[in-house]
Point group: D2
Chain length 355, copies 4
């Protein structure tokens, strides 16, 4: 049984494990003040091309989101997010648990635009309602779509004009930036958003998200918030060593490229086989709409999530690839799909014949 369920089914890229081994007996400072973390942060700053940013290393996405948002917002301020937003759906109310409402915007493609945000602002008129203050977007989104540069520029402009904080969840930022359709650079992000993070866990690390704070007013005392939320690891080096390895050369982007390439192979062949997709996702998550009979067949050998019922005979499934996805597994999946389709067709023909 090969799994396309997610991009965190395996451990870490071997170079990361090697780096852990090589550094293992060096003594260093605790709680993120070690030399590995400092070097990793410097490397990421270089890659972004700016020095006046603060970078903090976290263990996971929910932890990053809840620490950042609770640090950035005053008690009466709320976040705005697409209805698919991870913080809205899949973090067990982590943001609300820190006291903040999230205003949900119904969208089709997982992406916000200025008119969505404006509608949220217009609907919140006085002190009897929360004050919308932070816009939460994800890139890639939770359903695999990506933001184009001009889309992000428009949101950024609107947020600046309306004194809103723009925050980008980058759990799958690698896949977004390496998408064939992407026209954003890492350096653009630091200009366009107030804070974002570079996801490591889903792109080759054991754990690790690098939060980048670009807006000066959001930087103060940030490590206090991390400690308070349990986010400062005693052996913070574990995070530093991993990001150091990922950004020492092009490894971070190479890994994302591989994941996207694997998803692309699946997408192309599924498309050729005549099937459509739930979303336009040029990234490492795809959501093909397949006949239920085919899905059942494929489940014999592959694990993946059934994402949504489309009609009585069809469902969308989610296939996720990662840095660790094996090309032979992808080829085997495609082969098995084709085999199954032949079968299905034959059965259908038989059925038709009998009628």
């Amino acid at each position: 049984m090969y799994s396309f369920k997610n991009d965190y089914s395996e451990g870490a890229h071997p170079r990361i494990l090697n780096a852990l081994i090589e550094s293992n007996f060096e003594q260093d400072e605790g709680y993120g003040e070690d030399s590995y973390s400092r070097k990793a942060i410097d490397l990421i700053k270089q890659r972004i091309g700016r020095n006046n940013i603060d970078i903090h290393l976290f263990s996971g996405g929910t932890q990053t989101n809840l620490t950042a948002l609770s640090a950035f917002l005053r008690p009466h301020e709320a976040a705005i997010a697409a209805n698919t937003g991870h913080i809205l759906v899949h973090e067990t109310g982590a943001i609300e648990a820190t006291g903040h409402k999230i205003i949900s915007i119904e969208v089709e493609d997982g992406k916000l635009n200025p008119s969505h945000i404006k509608a949220a602002l217009d609907a919140h008129t006085d002190e009897h309602m929360v004050k919308p203050k932070l816009v939460y977007i994800s890139n890639t989104t939770e359903i695999g779509t990506i933001y184009k540069k001009d889309e992000l520029e428009q949101i950024s402009k609107f947020c600046k004009e309306n004194n809103l904080i723009l925050f980008k969840d980058g759990a799958r930022l690698g896949s977004a930036l390496c998408s064939a359709e992407n026209d954003l650079e890492l350096s653009d992000l630091a200009t366009l958003v107030d804070a974002f993070y570079i996801g490591g866990t889903k792109n080759g690390a054991l754990i690790g998200e690098a939060l980048v704070i670009c807006r000066d007013s959001l930087k103060e005392d940030f490590r206090f918030h991390m400690k308070q939320k349990g986010a400062l690891l005693a052996k913070g080096r574990l995070l530093g060593i991993q990001f150091l390895e990922l950004f020492r050369d092009n490894l971070y982007f190479d890994l994302a490229m591989h994941a996207n390439k694997m998803a692309g192979l699946l997408r192309d062949e599924i498309s050729k086989a005549g099937f459509g997709f739930l979303t336009h996702s040029p990234s490492n998550q795809i959501f093909p709409i397949l006949p239920n009979s085919l899905i059942t067949e494929l489940q014999d050998k592959y694990s993946f999530y059934i994402w949504a019922k489309v009609d009585s005979d069809h469902s969308a499934i989610r296939l996720v690839t990662s840095w660790a996805t094996k090309e032979e597994a992808v080829s085997a999946f495609i082969m098995d799909m084709k085999k199954a389709l032949k079968c299905v067709d034959m059965e259908t023909e038989v059925e038709l014949y009998q009628k």
Copy 2:
């Protein structure tokens, strides 16, 4: 410069790194539902000798404390802790940030006893004050002391009689259980306290604390709380693999034994040299009271914390050993101390002579 600053200056025990490498490409479930975590939990249950307990794996101590206490307490309920308690002093108000007051009890040796707890209960009489509900103790304590079995039994009895939850912070539980003066078994803990954790980060793991919930009423929906606090790692296997390795045989205890042995060597020699200690700490942290001149001398080659000023000429320092502490480093420290003392003595003699 060799560091005795803490027990998290190095990486992980090599067997743990090997286990990570060996398992690296196996696909498994996310968020702590992987086979490694399940096996590790089973092993720990066997070691404790009970099956009707729940075990959850966390990344760090502050995260464990804040998740557990906020899950266990209702909004008006408070924790009671010794004034040295980690949650009171060194967690940036993490517990208060989840809404709960901590009642501080002034003690000398870092340990609570029933009369302390009773005093706290007696001082909280009605709904104008918080309701003390949970007793937080640490073993070893933050100043290296340990609880004896009868001490813990008395607290446990008092807590049961007064319907209090007894919670034990076990960030350094290994050192406590392997102390020469210890008479507690891991199995005793599951009987005497309602929840405790087995610290991995300070005893050979990269990260990892295993929370054991013994009281049934505290178990329900606990994973929801973990997720809400950002404590469920996508690659939860990272925690599982480590605890699996630590508890597959006696490794966890062997490592703690080593740390204690190294501290013992330091303690004995410092004692022989005629110095006293701030606390009676038969564990991996010792707090010798040394002349400031000697401290300065030692700081040339060793790093450690100056813990407290004792008088104008003397301070207590903290020396911490770990699974990774090298015996040659300990020997060198002792040697250097002796050398310095000779020096110091000579200077003192000179001074005396000059007077």
Copy 3:
């Protein structure tokens, strides 16, 4: 300018002010333990016909909601509410500020039914999402509709079967129970819901909401929660005296009757004039849909909220009546509407003629 903006534009019913004066110099206990509050609570229990309920007096609705919900829910548990729910829209995130998410259900008439609640439960499947635990309904709803007995029975049954807490916001409970279409008794509520409150502020009191807790497991330590949220008034007698007066005889219901009667007069005449309504509201709030020109005309003499734009020429307004609404003001409004309509008609005729 006469105001139909809300039901809290005036002070209190004169009998309440008299009761304050008569009791003014009697010394009594503080923080709700006074004899007035105790008697008021006894009277309400009698009226409800049950003794095994706990009653607590609050200053206002938001305070009641936030204290009750935060006392009733554990950190990972969420409330379910209609999208019109007061806690969702008009309490500045008060519930989220205590840590809890509110799941919004899109409805037309402000009312929830079991299928709505079931959909929310079905959408929350595991620990990566909040756990829906409390159903929040309002009667009257925020848009003037009311729950019929069988509707409430169905919800109640569903909640019991699914171990959900059913909470009813009763800021306008008087108007609901005195509606011509109502078939619920106060005693039914205590059987069908787990907690509800009897709104005083909008029905003759200066301030005051009486929270009734029916389910035993929700009662424990409730006064601690009140104190913690700032809800225990030093002169709690202020609340006790008012509820004592409202429930000493039928005053509470007489006042609600009057409010409903005044709204009924408006509704009938507006209806006769040929206009429709945004909602079917047999209570003290009505939402007629009027031509914008007529609205402008009426705004010369009356203040009220424009609730929603209906089309380019029509808007829904909100007219609210109360215990203090004067019948002559209602008559005058109706008269002025009729006059204006004649005008409007004439103008329209002229316009038509000119075309």
Copy 4:
């Protein structure tokens, strides 16, 4: 049985009740935007002698404290308070429930000075601890002592130098400002502290505390915080009308004067009778240390709190006077004390004689 238990045993000053009656049927805006509240705020500003301050009316002290502190502090910031501070002891963890730790300073007289605050700052050195940010003081303190102008100036200077917010709880501010030993003006407060409140509940109002925010950076969006904490009353006029009456002329100060005068009578006579006091309290609370036998005697006719056991034969009691305390009750108490003393003396003599 006459009560000296507290200063909230009666209702309101009759002029306040009259004002409620006179205004009762006037229609006005809700939620504190009514004309009474606006006028009351203007009057208080005039009395303070400054216009660049914001004033908000609350129902009670705990509500004021929790709303202000949670609005003023970021999540990692803590308050510093004397160990007697109301927020530390008697508010059921209300501040912690909003997420903030309170650092307790052990003092004898209920008052903080710069060296106390400095010690707290010095003990909090890095991000592993909370960041002390707000200094909470009470005037009068919870044990009846008052701050002199130079004491407050020193604290104010220290807070400004250290970028700390100085907050003064004024639940009994009237009594403080009308103390024979006071040298502070209301106008001084607005210069020396960043925010304070003028307590109405304990000085003639039914409910009501007027929070004055002097520092500009603390003013923004404050009404959002009030609404979120349930502090905006629908009939906010109830607060406005009362403060309007209290500050229309000198009523607020006349009432405090009376309370202080009554306490003074008690203090003088108790002192003359040869008894000492637990604290030096030139305000409306006194804490005489009396023989237990005398206390028992007095409890037949008077209710008051036994505050502290002093030795095996003596206890301190708390006697509180208010605007409503009757001079004849005070005289009667004094008379009864004298009578009892004679009795006690006789018994003592008998006892002595028998020995």
